[in-house]
């Protein structure tokens, strides 16, 4: 079975600035492929190159079996795209927007009627079909944008941070829809900076500073962090991080929610040393235990291994 997306040494520079640096990966059909990384890591630039919105400086991208550089028209027919910001026409009504994109994708007649009804139903906009889009709430707008992106039932769907700014419940509903598409055989290529969303993906690509630093299933990525991870609860997290950061046993200390996460060289030594360091700094050690790494921990660890701090 051919890959839905196949990328080889894709590179894009803007003047001296390298936005995407020799990125290569493949996405299988029907896969939910996550693109993870801080702002400015090169996610959006990569998606723009895959959707034909931006020409690569170097390298090759095959989408739906066609070279984006050479057969951009065919590629565009086979993909749906939803950008970071809401970008349907705010001064058209819900129905008029659907009809416009129907016309652009060549979906007309009975099929358009069927697809329109499906979108209105899916987005919960059946009662607001004649409202001007600009007046809708952000959650509705986003579902309408998703509807317009899949109007022509494309085999591949590109979503660039589709849920930014949306409340958690809407976000959850949005992901239910993404699962439905994937089960129906659509390949979903989604970028996000919400770590909990990344867990929903079949596979994850981590980007930092224009480079792809890891690519695997979420569980395997976790296993890739071999150093033990400890969670510390203390009365002053900031001072605790400060006190522990320079200690030889601690590789990385970072505040994480209500706790402090410590990546350490040796679990037993750390369990001994950490409470002592805290005591001498006048801090309480309320709890210290080993935990499985979250994706964020993985990300921090991988960036450290690459020898640099994440951008953003």
């Amino acid at each position: 079975m051919p890959d839905a997306v196949s990328v080889r040494s894709l590179t894009r520079t803007f003047g001296d600035f390298v936005a995407v640096d020799r990125v290569s990966f493949d996405v299988a059909e029907g896969e939910i492929f996550g693109f993870l990384g801080p702002n400015g890591a090169g996610k959006t630039t990569t998606i723009k190159m895959l959707t034909g919105l931006l020409r690569p400086t170097d390298g090759q991208a095959i989408v739906a079996g066609h070279d984006v550089a050479r057969e951009v028209a065919v590629v565009k027919r086979n993909l749906g795209y939803m950008s970071q910001q809401f970008s349907l026409y705010a001064d058209l009504t819900v129905e008029e927007n659907i009809r416009l994109f129907g016309g652009l994708y060549g979906v007309t007649g009975a099929r358009l009627t069927a697809r329109r009804d499906w979108i209105l139903e899916m987005a919960g906009l059946s009662h607001h079909r004649t409202r001007v889009t600009g007046e809708l709430s952000l959650g509705w707008k986003q579902r309408l944008a998703l509807g317009c992106a899949v109007l022509h039932e494309p085999p591949i769907l590109f979503l660039d941070e589709p849920t930014s700014g949306v409340d958690p419940v809407s976000r959850r509903n949005f992901w239910d829809l993404i699962y439905e598409f994937a089960e129906a055989g659509t390949t979903v290529f989604v970028s996000t900076h919400y770590m909990e969303e990344a867990e929903y993906c079949h596979r994850l690509a981590l980007m930092n500073r224009a480079r792809l630093i890891a690519l695997d299933r979420p569980d395997r990525l976790r296993e890739a962090v071999q150093e033990p991870l400890l969670e510390l609860r203390t009365d002053n997290r900031a001072r605790a991080v400060e006190a522990l950061r320079e200690h030889p046993v601690v590789l990385e200390a970072a505040m994480f929610g209500q706790a402090v996460h410590l990546l350490v060289r040796d679990r037993d030594r750390a369990m001994d040393e950490v409470p002592r360091v805290l005591r001498s700094a006048g801090l309480a050690c309320e709890a210290l235990e080993m935990i499985p790494p979250s994706l964020e921990d993985v990300f921090v660890a991988l960036v450290r291994r690459e020898g640099g701090a994440p951008v953003g």
């Binding site: 020409r55 565009k76 950008s83 970008s87 349907l88 026409y89 058209l92 994109f101 060549g106 001007v132």
Partner: protein, 371 residues
């Protein structure tokens, strides 16, 4: 190219336009406002020029001379001055445009046959009005002079000039302005409406969404052109109707030819508008550039009101790349002169070049972003 996609773009453009009251106003009401203003409010026809008189002669002859100014219909005497110093104030405050000074020796000089001199001080600030006033004054004085020296004898001048004015027999500014105004209105439509159309899509991010669809740049450009061309042609018809029916501007040529050439002009101007809009990608800048690149040249360098022949050579040269120049020649030619393709073919050819160039630029500018 797909007709479905093209129509989808055109339809969208029309829907957006329909919701945009101000663009509608610009497209349909402004042309009427301009026609009414140009047709009724303004005119270069100078009548009853305000003048003052300083009569130092105070004789029947001097009164007769002044009377012939007032009786001509071109001047109205609004002030009688007592001292030469008052002339300064009268002209300076723009109370009058001309001061006629008749010297104390006027009657005696005239009677003696030595020849009398009268002086006209003109407010030269407005050179155009002053020139016209000067010509009228000269004609009046010369007429009176001939009568005065002949002393009742009938004097026929050995040669006279019979003027015949072609195309606009009564020399009404309105007849000259309405045809040119059509070109200016078309340029406003082209510049103002299309300058925003692409820049707005870039600023709001909708262009990116369009770019991700299979739509071809040719379809975007033509899809966007269609509604504006329709509006433009409607406005030409409206202007003609108002001009011919209401203002009595003659229409002597071929309507079909005018329609065809208007279409060419619109395609070229709209193409340029779209090019500007897509090239600068910002509404504020696009409107500025469009004003400088289309509307101002159409107003100034088209021969609409200001004669090209009297401009500096640089501007005359520049006017050859202003498509409105050719279109004004066409509208004046067809409406007033009643000439056809045999005379206008050069202008038509130039407009074909502009239309092709405009379209090519509009389509070319998307090369980077779109298929």
């Amino acid at each position: 190219m797909s007709l479905t996609r093209l129509l989808a773009i055109s339809r969208k453009e029309l829907l957006q336009l329909r919701r945009d009251a101000r663009s509608l106003y610009l497209a349909f009401i402004l042309p009427l406002v301009l026609l009414v203003l140009f047709g009724y409010a303004i005119s270069f026809d100078i009548r009853s020029i305000r003048m003052a008189v300083l009569d130092q002669s105070r004789t029947p002859e001097s009164r007769e001379l002044i009377e012939s100014f007032a009786g001509s219909g071109y001047f109205s005497v609004v002030e009688h001055l007592e001292t030469p110093a008052e002339a300064d104030r009268a002209l300076g405050s723009s109370a009058v445009r001309l001061v006629l000074i008749v010297p104390p020796t006027f009657a005696a000089d005239l009677a003696s046959g030595r020849g009398a001199v009268v002086q006209a001080l003109l407010d030269g600030a407005d050179a155009n009005s002053a020139t016209i006033a000067q010509n009228y004054a000269e004609a009046i004085v010369s007429g009176y002079s001939t009568r005065a020296v002949a002393r009742g004898r009938r004097v026929t001048l050995p040669v006279t000039a019979e003027s015949r004015v072609w195309y606009n027999e009564t020399l009404e500014s309105r007849n000259m302005i309405v045809p040119g105004l059509i070109a200016v209105i078309m340029s406003i439509i082209a510049a103002m409406l299309t300058a925003l159309t692409i820049a707005r899509e870039w600023e709001r991010g909708t262009m990116e969404q369009l770019a991700a669809t299979p739509v071809h740049r040719l379809e975007i450009v033509i899809g966007k052109l269609v509604p504006y061309v329709a509006i433009g042609l409607f406005d030409v018809a409206l202007a003609l109707l108002v001009g011919v029916v209401l203002f009595g501007v003659p229409f002597r040529g071929n309507l079909l030819l005018l329609g065809l050439l208007s279409l060419l002009f619109l395609i070229g101007s709209l193409g340029l508008g779209i090019f500007i809009s897509a090239a600068v990608k910002s509404q504020v800048l696009a409107t500025q550039v469009a004003m400088l690149a289309t509307f101002l040249p159409a107003l100034l360098l088209s021969g609409f009101i200001f004669t090209l022949a009297t401009m500096p050579i640089v501007l005359q040269g520049l006017s050859y790349v202003v498509s409105a120049r050719y279109y004004v020649a066409v509208t004046k030619g067809i409406l007033l002169k009643g000439v056809g393709a045999s005379v206008l073919w050069e202008d038509a050819l130039a407009m074909v070049v502009f239309a092709v160039a405009g379209l090519a630029m509009a389509i070319g500018v998307f090369r980077k972003e779109l298929a």
